[in-house]
């Protein structure tokens, strides 16, 4: 397979530019911190844009409304207003809450979503390669870290000393287990093509031309190579991030707000932040694995990557506005009896076909 296009990662580049590499390991460490801060800021900015503003605007567009339009241009200043509002609310901890689990839960949810971005190749902007680390097991690392969120959900669920939270926590875990396996197995079918778990290699493998139609060359994005796996992944991803038709863990009309019922103020912000960053993480993995990562014409790689992530976000909002929610037993059934079987069938078939073709 082809070598990664950009060999130098952001920490190395930064260390180089700032002259930190003279200090050896300590310098690289500092550069790594700076790089992480940059990526985290990027993602938090996205989440801030998506949570208080874009989500409202998108949902409003789907549902025949206008949404926020009084705070600054296009209502954008609602982000500031909401931030002040949420932070200044009283933090109410229910009696009998199991601390510190009650406090760790939201932090874990937000942290796990952000941490996984360490291995996501965002592409380049102005010569900087926005990727913090590129381990050989990048894809597995991303999934492993992202699934820590489940632990956070359980903690929130049982530590709140609230029956709705408990039900929501149980639902969240049941759902995450049922859908993470198909998600990972489907991603594994892509690894058969790329022959690597390294994110940069997966991206690079998709730059080859698949076919050329009327002078336009279609890249070999795995969404085109294996559309079946793409659809499977997209579906499982909806369940992973808990959006319709799989928003059963929250299901506001049934169990109030599920595991987050008892959280207010900054904890609420953390959970919400985690949720939105998680959607973007799902979008980022989807983009890297199936949509060629940061690849795209004219615009810089980072912009393309963000466009693809936002497209996935838009898709989740669309599903939320249009599709009913399945019941918990139906959800588990779809996961274990439907998606799991299909994803294994996809994996085996892909393996066989690739094996035959490469013989």
């Amino acid at each position: 397979m082809t070598a990664p296009l950009q060999s130098a990662l952001m920490p190395e580049q930064l260390a180089n530019w700032l002259g930190l590499d003279a200090y050896g390991g300590a310098g690289t460490f500092v550069a790594g911190i700076i790089a992480s801060a940059l990526v985290a800021t990027l993602m938090l900015t996205n989440a801030a844009l998506a949570g208080p503003w874009a989500k409202r605007k998108i949902t409003a567009a789907f549902t025949d409304r206008i949404a926020v339009n009084r705070h600054g241009p296009f209502g954008l200043l609602i982000i500031v207003a909401d931030a002040v509002r949420l932070m200044s609310k009283e933090l109410i901890v229910p009696e009998g809450a199991d601390r510190p689990a009650y406090d760790i839960g939201p932090i874990l949810i937000a942290f796990s979503a952000l941490f996984a971005f360490a291995v996501i190749p965002f592409g380049t902007l102005g010569g900087i390669n926005f990727q913090i680390a590129d381990p050989e097991i990048g894809l597995v690392f991303a999934f492993a870290i992202a699934s820590i969120a489940s632990v956070g959900l359980v903690m929130c669920g049982y530590a709140s000393n609230n029956k709705y939270s408990l039900l929501g926590g149980l639902r969240a875990v049941a759902q995450n287990i049922a859908y993470e396996i198909p998600l990972i197995v489907t991603a594994a079918s892509v690894v058969i093509f790329s022959e690597s778990l390294q994110m940069s290699t997966i991206v690079a493998a998709q730059t080859e031309t698949l076919v050329t139609i009327a002078g336009i060359s279609i890249p070999s994005w795995y969404a085109f190579v294996n559309p079946f796996a793409f659809v499977l992944f997209l579906t499982a991803n909806l369940a992973e991030v808990g959006r319709n038709p799989f928003d059963t863990p929250e299901a506001p009309t049934e169990i109030v707000a599920g595991y987050q019922t008892e959280y207010s103020s900054i904890y609420f912000v953390l959970i919400y932040l985690g949720e939105f960053v998680h959607i973007f993480l799902g979008g980022a993995i989807l983009a890297v694995v199936f949509l060629g990562g940061p690849a795209g014409p004219v615009l810089p790689g980072l912009v393309w990557m963000l466009i693809k992530m936002w497209a996935v976000f838009l898709f989740t909002q669309w599903a939320r506005s249009a599709i009913p929610r399945v019941r918990i037993d139906q959800l588990i059934e779809i996961g274990w009896k439907g998606l799991l079987v299909l994803s294994f069938a996809n994996l085996v078939l892909t393996a066989v076909i690739v094996g035959v073709l490469t013989l």
């Binding site: 025949d64 909002q317 009913p324």
Partner: protein
């Protein structure tokens, strides 16, 4: 004979489509102490310990299978419970069973073993009037707090004395161990309070739920949070003008005109008032606009319950409903509390310019098929929604009748019962429309009934608009001659019902010779319909419980009154 088995509809006590009270009296034999005549139907006075026998005979041998209402009241010398019986096949065939009990010992036999719906109705009678029903499985207060002292509609109750109701005497529902007692297989259960403040209760309703995992073992609706003494207030108002504003506040989901009609019909029959044909057409049109608005909101909130908070269907339905609301505002000057009907007519004629009003109304009804198509695409044609609603919340027809279910809930269970057709009033029998019945008995059927009824209502409105447009200008009479004060003869009693948005909305009035009712009892369709919830949802998932509750389309303002 068990409650769910019924013989083929017998024709005992019926002569030429009318109830033959002599034959019924012969059927009941010496159990009848006395005959009484109410404006709506004849009645039999019976002993308090013959209630089950008499009702059972009337139900199984004479076919009175619908216990529409139970009215309780206190006279100077006695208490009295009245069981208003009807037939689902023909609600114009009615009979009243009157059960007097002595003042010093107001104990009467419960009708619950014959009609399950009697359980709640008798609890209400016990709560507000103070009659005790022996054999009622759960004779607790239902509308007032458990710690309330006295029975506010009873004769010796001091209504001027304020009462401080302490909540400390209440058992805190969170403290107790609410495991189901007969939990034989050793599985642990969880008690869950759904409400009084919960996103899916559509108001202040409290469901005491026992869960086994995600499944509902037991659900007990706790109502009364929105009790506003509506009956008491109506008893303090004069017939002519002061009562009409109250019905708007029962079912406040824009079904105001339908409620007003219930009072208008009852009072007009009581005082023998005519309504000009022109006013009847306006009433019919306005009432059907209200029905559309109400059903669209039911559809919208059902979508919320099934889809979640961010569904587009909700706003789309609200968008259509808004058009109906605007027309109603043009007609009545109000959007919520219309107060548009008057005894003997309506408050004023259609708004000028009339052409504009007709055009607006036609635009609305013409646009409905497209909107309806959209709702079908978003809801009924969606496979996930079908998986969620088909065969969930099942209410068999016999069960529906047992609980006195009416309206879309009964029609979704295949019970062909619609007072607009079966007990005609207004202008309905002159118009061409159909009663919508679905026999799926599940949440899906009830949704479908409401969606199709919207289309039928649109048909009715179209015909009304045509009629109104061609009505000669000099004959536009909106109000008949009504005496300034209405004083029906003392002890005239009447029970009349109309088809409200949620079902049979009935009113019982007893006059006491003054210009205010002596007793004013509201038969709320939601009250009876809500009783079916445990039947529908026990053994199902909690998500189905929420869906079933949504499909019942209750309004707590009407349940609690």
């Amino acid at each position: 004979m068990s409650r769910s088995e019924l013989p083929d509809t017998p024709e005992v006590g019926v002569a030429e489509g009318e109830v033959d009270y002599d034959e019924l009296e012969a059927l009941l034999g010496e159990k009848v102490l006395e005959r009484e005549d109410h404006v709506n139907a004849g009645g039999f006075v019976i002993r308090p310990d013959d209630v089950q026998d008499v009702l059972s005979t009337l139900r199984h041998e004479a076919g009175f299978d619908h216990l529409s209402n139970v009215t309780a009241q206190q006279y100077e010398d006695r208490y009295e419970s009245i069981y208003h019986l009807k037939k689902y096949d023909d609600p114009t065939q009615e009979v009243n069973v009157i059960v007097p009990t002595p003042t010093d010992e107001p104990v009467s036999e419960s009708a619950e073993p014959v009609f399950r719906t009697a359980e709640w109705h008798e609890r209400e009678a016990y709560d507000l009037v103070g009659i005790e029903y022996e054999g009622n499985p759960d004779l607790r207060r239902i509308l007032l707090p458990e710690t309330w002292t006295g029975h506010p509609l009873g004769g010796d109750y001091d209504q001027t004395k304020p009462q401080v109701v302490s909540l400390t005497e209440h058992a805190n529902p969170l403290q107790d161990d609410h495991r189901v007692e007969n939990d034989n297989d050793g599985t642990d259960t969880m008690f869950l309070n759904i409400g009084p403040h919960h996103p899916a209760t559509h108001g202040v309703l409290h469901l005491k739920t026992v869960l086994d995992g995600e499944q509902v073992l037991d659900v007990d609706p706790d109502i009364g949070y929105l009790h506003r003494c509506e009956e008491q207030m109506c008893q303090q108002g004069t017939y002519r003008h002061q009562i009409m504003p109250y019905p708007d506040r029962w079912d406040y989901i824009s079904a105001g005109l339908l409620n007003e009609w219930a009072y208008a019909r009852t009072a007009e029959d009581l005082a023998d008032l005519d309504v000009p044909e022109y006013a009847q057409i306006i009433r019919t049109m306005g009432a059907e606009l209200c029905r559309i608005a109400s059903h669209l909101l039911a559809l919208a909130t059902f979508a919320l319950d099934i889809n979640g908070d961010f569904t587009a269907t909700f706003m789309y339905a609200i968008r259509e409903r808004e058009k109906a609301q605007n027309i109603l505002e043009d007609l009545t000057g109000q959007r919520l509390m219309f107060n548009y009907f008057r005894l003997g007519g309506v408050a004023w004629d259609l708004p000028e310019p009339r052409e504009e009003f007709f055009e607006k109304t036609r635009d609305f009804t013409n646009g409905l098929p497209a909107a309806s198509e959209e709702f079908h695409n978003l809801l009924t044609n969606n496979e996930i929604l079908q998986a969620r609603t088909i065969d969930t919340g099942v209410l068999e027809p016999e069960e529906a009748k047992q609980y006195g279910a009416t309206g879309p809930v009964a029609r979704g269970s295949g019970v062909d019962y619609d007072l607009r057709r079966d007990d005609p009033y207004g202008y309905y029998d002159e118009l061409d429309w159909d009663v919508v019945v679905e026999d799926g008995c599940d949440n899906f059927s009830r949704l479908l009934v409401r969606m199709r009824e919207v289309e039928e209502s649109a048909k009715i409105i179209d015909q009304c608009v045509d009629l109104l447009e061609d009505w000669p200008e000099e004959e536009r009479n909106i109000q008949s001659n009504v005496p300034r004060t209405i004083k029906p003869d003392p002890d005239t009693e009447i029970y009349r019902a109309v088809e409200g948005a949620k079902g049979e909305l009935g009113i019982y009035i007893r006059s006491d010779g003054t210009d205010k009712p002596g007793r004013f009892k509201i038969r709320s369709p939601c009250f009876s319909n809500l009783q079916t919830l445990p039947e529908m949802s026990e053994g199902e998932y909690i998500a189905d419980l929420i869906a079933s509750l949504g499909s019942l389309d209750i309004v707590l303002g009407e349940v609690d009154r």
